[in-house]
Symmetry: C2
Subunit: 245 residues, 2 copies
Amino acid sequence: MAVTAREIADELAEGIRSGERKPGARLPGEPALVRKHGVAKATAQRALTLLVTEGLAVQHKGSGTYVRDFQPIRRVANQRLSQERWGEGRSIWGADVGQRPMSVTDLRVYEAQAPDDVALLLDLEEGERVVIRDRLFTVESEPVQAAISYLPADLVRESAIAQEDTGPGGTYARLAELGVKPVRFVEELRARMPSHEESGRLHLTAGTPVVEIYRTALTEEGTPVEVNRMLLDAGAYVMEYRISG
Amino acid sequence: MAVTAREIADELAEGIRSGERKPGARLPGEPALVRKHGVAKATAQRALTLLVTEGLAVQHKGSGTYVRDFQPIRRVANQRLSQERWGEGRSIWGADVGQRPMSVTDLRVYEAQAPDDVALLLDLEEGERVVIRDRLFTVESEPVQAAISYLPADLVRESAIAQEDTGPGGTYARLAELGVKPVRFVEELRARMPSHEESGRLHLTAGTPVVEIYRTALTEEGTPVEVNRMLLDAGAYVMEYRISG
DNA sequence: AAGTGGTCTAGACCACTAG
DNA sequence: TAGTGGTCTAGACCACTTC
């Protein structure tokens, strides 16, 4: 009998998936759905909210609901970390962002006690201190990734790693100079919905998950020297890993 | 003035994140929130829905709303690489999850034309045919992953790969026998919200993203011989990749 | 039978956007 | 200023779970 929000959402979703409604196109608004299906405004709104939570649409208040545009950045893990790239003063970022320039904003560098999870990964004593590099990566004025690196403070305190500008080659070149060159990396990742705070920091629209990555950098001897915790806007990234059997 | 759904949700979320409300514990229901905050039932319900869409809670109709339990399966992509030197056991999420038995259900094997995306990855002519192995992986009676493999039909049609039972060593052992042993793999992955259909197939609760992985298997010569498209319940998995610089 | 979430109607007020 | 989404109240009926 009743037309449900689910049914209205499915009809619109079908139009989006089939390509009939193109990315960026405006979807019918609440009043239009009320007229067409004879439902209450709240039901029409719920239908649109369903599309948003399924990642198919974005809403701009005062303007309308639009088909979502997915134009991801490709993050190639192996390429980024390949040895040849470090020594040449080439930045890790920029290589795989394609044509779109990525910039670092809100960089903060400071020293503090290591959080428990990081202490575990870095094999630190309880309460040991770390140098923390906290930053936000932005593409076309939109934040796409928050990253926070932890390095043993006793190891890197005197190096450029503890400065805002780490110099040519970045953190990894400095670690190599300290005799703890990272040669292997472990990435642990999971996808989940962001907290309210994380949504705000990455300007996420509802229906966008985040990918949380912990990357541990290890020396030849297997000593962990850096942990980088990244939070990626899942709507902005595709990740690639190359594995040799 | 008014107490918003967001504020009620934040208060509950704080209790969950602090550990005060433990995984599996029951949260106050709609009537309790109505009494405590003096809001309408719909507002209380919206507060609980916010927690669900943020992945912090699950709802069981007729029973209640509960703090979500995250006990992930660890998927190590580089299974075949030596475990040494990568530092044992140091992991962020649930080192405990070792040997929960995983079973294959709903296996279907058939031949069809390759979809466009797969044809691209497999380097096939338009309309070329593939053998498709479609299956669901289940842990403790709950589906956690849907996987669908595509292999060039001309190559594998006569082998056990086209049978339900691929025999000892599975698909890769049969490919090796055919002289196209996969030795390298490329995995492309993204996280997104599931469609309504996908939610149903993987029994996902709202607020659970999926991880979509395309894995291409390549021979020594670089010829792609299999594409496996996996859809993982993001609430059930942690992924691990090991990268050598 | 009582309690819980699921969904809907009907109507209200607000804030933001666009022309 | 008209249209849009954002959020709320108030009340209704249903299906499911638990005891």
